[in-house]
């Protein structure tokens, strides 16, 4: 009996260890490979050079254009997703009949289940041509179209998590507001949204983190031209797209070009790691507030 317990405990520990060891392993590879890279390229060049051309004859290793591409597409995504997602959350929480809410929530979450490659082609073949009718100067590959589509993709993340946060606001606050003559709209935006703000912030940060790490949509529709710009109409390249580009190409293993993807990878890792930690911190604060 004792032995059986021990064995079960060991198996459980092993399962837990797999995920932790994988994380450590990835970190190890990222750090060791990129350290080789940083021995050849000074960190200052990596951080401050405004060009990223590792695959060209004249090589520059400034990460800024890739960061700009990533930030731009993610920013567009959040500009689309936050108002829509929050409105949906408020609607589901305060206006929608209970039966309708039960019915509509799973459907919304289907949006998150669509393969991103489908989203990517949707951006390239549908949204971009549509936008080009409005903005004729827009290039075939650009930041705007995949940004919007990524926004659509992360709407359910924001609406679902925000709805949970709104739902968790004590009923007594709702009653206090209605009891003094507030409308549903006033109750929603003057009491519930502020009271749920930390939960909403968490949902937004997680959504940003998702957008920053998104690969397929931007790889298909944003182009592959690292460019330090905030112009949404021209082709850009995100960190993730660059990694795909090099991984798929015929770059020699162990070469400097090859090691750039680990440097880009660690930059991406740090970005999402910081975002996730901020959300974790905000969430902890939030929990303290409501006992």
């Amino acid at each position: 009996m004792r032995l059986k317990e021990k064995i079960i405990e060991g198996i459980l520990l092993l399962c837990a260890a797999v995920s932790i060891l994988t994380t450590i392993g990835i970190l190890w590879v990222l750090i060791s490979e990129s350290s080789v890279f940083f021995l050849k390229v000074p960190l200052t060049e990596f951080l401050f050079d405004t060009q990223w051309t590792p695959l060209f004859a004249e090589k520059h290793f400034g990460i800024l254009p890739l960061v700009a591409g990533t930030v731009l597409t993610s920013f567009i995504a959040i500009v689309v997703a936050l108002p829509v997602g929050l409105t949906i959350a408020v609607y589901l929480n305060e206006y929608a009949p209970k039966g309708f809410r039960k019915f509509i929530k799973p459907i919304l979450e289907v949006l998150a289940a669509i393969p991103t490659v489908v989203y990517g082609y949707f951006a390239l073949m549908v949204i971009t041509p549509f936008l080009q009718q409005i903005f004729p100067q827009m290039a075939g590959f650009n930041a705007l179209s995949p940004g919007i589509v990524m926004g659509i993709m992360i709407i359910p993340m924001i609406s679902s998590l925000s709805e949970d946060a709104l739902y968790a606001v004590p009923k007594s606050l709702r009653e206090a507001s209605y009891g003094i003559g507030a409308t549903r709209f006033q109750t929603s935006f003057k009491v519930l949204v502020p009271a749920a703000s930390s939960g909403i912030v968490v949902s937004v940060i997680l959504a940003i983190s998702r957008a920053v790490g998104e690969t397929m949509i931007v790889a298909i529709a944003a182009g592959q031209q690292p460019r330090l710009t905030l112009n949404p109409f021209v082709p850009v390249e995100t960190i993730t797209t660059y990694i795909v580009q090099v991984s798929l190409g015929d770059v020699v293993q162990g070469s400097l070009e090859y090691q750039t993807i680990f440097a880009a990878g660690i930059a991406l890792f740090i970005l999402t790691f910081v975002l996730n930690n901020i959300s974790f911190y905000v969430k902890k604060k939030f929990e303290e507030k409501y006992e």
């Binding site: 004590p170 007594s172 206090a176 009891g179 003094i180 003559g181 507030a182 409308t183 502020p194 009271a195």
Partner: protein, 256 residues
């Protein structure tokens, strides 16, 4: 409109309430004069809170809620289609069982009702805050900390902030749903004293579990039992000389 109603602040006629299939208020009729304090007593689940919440239509959002009968305030049926429920709730304020200040400053809590009406004039707001907090007998305790979070106050203070918040929009009726049940004896005494003072300007209806409290604060008492209004009379009369055996049994503590 029938003449005699005009003298009554509130007139409930044959009120029946259903939650789905459950018949929770059974043919209750009663009237209240202006500037009086009426206490609703009765065991848990007797319908006294439900009835109270019919007076400012707080039950409207509950799934399956259905009401028949007429609820007249100043002779006007508040369940008529054209009645704006927001305006009604401004006129019929409510104080809840658990203090429920917003996670905002004391100042913003008190003027919430004005803000939602679009009143942003600083001097009007300042005056309202001072008047309401004085009326709620908490001005001296918080006047130097108006920008502090209302959540930092004690439970008793929070409840008086909530009363001030209700008073700020100048209602004519105040509904109190066991306003002191979550408070300590000293805070309870303060709230009761407050009810005495507010009576001169407002019509107050208070739900309470505490019969001593009902005896101390009210002019009239209504005893509810399983959805029915069993007895409704002057406070002294009801406690000293109840007409119904059920009332007698309840107030002497034979069941609760």
């Amino acid at each position: 409109m029938v003449k005699e109603m005009a003298t009554d602040k509130l007139n409930a006629k044959n009120i029946n309430v259903f939650y789905g299939q459950a018949h929770v208020i059974k043919d209750v009729s009663m009237s209240m004069e202006a500037n009086s304090v009426t206490a609703f007593i009765g065991p848990s689940g007797c319908g006294k809170s439900t009835f109270l919440r019919c007076i400012n239509r707080m039950n409207d959002y509950i799934d399956g809620f259905r009401m028949t009968g007429k609820m007249l305030i100043d002779g006007q049926d508040i369940y008529k289609k054209k009645v704006e429920v927001e305006a009604l709730r401004k006129d019929v304020g409510m104080v809840f069982q658990k203090p429920n200040p917003f996670p905002k400053s004391i100042y913003e809590n008190v003027i919430y009702g004005l803000r939602i009406q679009g009143i942003n004039n600083k001097s009007v707001l300042d005056e309202t805050v001072e008047r309401s907090l004085r009326q709620a007998a908490i001005w001296d305790e918080v006047k130097d900390d108006l920008n502090k979070s209302a959540l930092s106050l004690s439970g008793g203070q929070q409840q008086r902030i909530c009363i001030a918040r209700t008073l700020a929009v100048e209602p004519s009726i105040i509904l109190m749903d066991e306003p002191a049940s979550a408070l300590d004896p000293i805070s309870t005494a303060k709230i009761e004293e407050l009810i005495h003072e507010l009576k001169s300007k407002y019509t107050i209806i208070i739900v309470t579990h505490n019969m001593q409290q009902a005896g101390r604060v009210s002019d009239k008492v209504a005893f509810f039992y399983i959805g029915e209004l069993i007895e409704y009379s002057e406070t002294k009369e009801l406690f000293i000389n109840p007409k119904e055996e059920l009332t007698q049994n309840y107030i002497t503590g034979r069941f609760g």
